[in-house]
Point group: C2
Chain length 153, copies 2
DNA sequence: CAAATCTCTATTGTGTCAATAGAGATTATT
DNA sequence: AATAATCTCTATTGACACAATAGAGATTTG
């Protein structure tokens, strides 16, 4: 039930680009330093995100990356699915990455039913949240006090 | 965002034991055959579930396994946490398996906030569903028609 | 031309995971 | 007591994925 480091880096990098949407391109090295991501590893990831159509690049001096589409147009689900694969906890309940499992009767497997609900819950969030939402949240968290506990009282 | 094969086998084996709760013990081989799980692999897993206190065994001829507690007392969350570790998609939002991540400011990370919601959604289901619930579902699915689509119309 | 950047492919190291192997301990049955 | 059927324990293997590194190449700016 885990996101790979690669997937996490991808989202962190996209967040940086989303926060700079509309401005000039951002260099890999800047993202790398700001987010503590190994530069050469980040190169691969950004290139991969280009194939997704989430990102575009300019080469040469003064080169860099920027979002290829508006941030409200890029969901976490699309990113994670492209980088990692299925969002579902088991592939027998995955829509796009379906694989038959080894259980005796998939159609009547109660575990599968529950896992389907888990999948729904995860997909609901991941398909709904966009990079724009992350930017909004970032701003709110910026102006919030150290801990949210202050509000809970 | 995936459950390991080991974790899936564990739940499938426990389902068999839950369906036989109150009866005599069940042999590893029976579970192995019924669920298409490699026998020697299953041995390890059942032994591991003993450490969790979900299962108890009798050795020797006429030996086998049975649940150590009533099925309504064993949640999927407890099983998966014991076999796999965190339910959270990233360890920085995990309660019991927390690890600091490499992002610059964890407290104000909007990604972390979203991942926390994913965690909540998953945990809510996994902590609520017990082996007894799986048995109920199994029975309902047994008497249901081939596809659920019939009802959706 | 030179410097800074992105591009591409290969490789490496590490670790995890699924599975197998086999000797050992325990129990029921005869 | 002997035997057969089970669980028990630890080690090992093989395959693969993952994170990271390396380096030569292409492109653009100034």
């Amino acid at each position: 039930m885990k996101l790979s480091v690669r997937g996490e880096y991808a989202i962190r990098a996209l967040l940086v680009l989303a926060l700079n949407y509309g401005d000039d391109v951002v260099r890999i090295q800047a993202i790398s330093e700001q987010q503590n991501i190994p530069k050469k590893f980040l190169e691969q990831i950004l290139n991969d995100l280009k194939a997704l159509g989430a990102v575009e690049s300019r080469r040469g001096a003064a080169g860099g990356y920027r979002l290829a589409r508006p941030p409200q147009n890029i969901t976490l689900a699309s990113v994670v699915r492209h980088i990692e694969g299925a969002l579902a906890p088991v592939s027998c309940v995955s829509d796009r990455f379906y694989e038959r499992c080894t259980c005796p009767d998939e159609a009547r497997c109660p575990i599968r039913a529950v896992m389907g609900e888990v999948r729904e819950a995860v997909v609901k969030i991941m398909e709904q949240v966009t990079l724009a939402d992350l930017c909004d949240r970032a701003q709110r968290l910026q102006h919030a006090p150290q801990t949210m506990l202050d509000y809970v009282i």
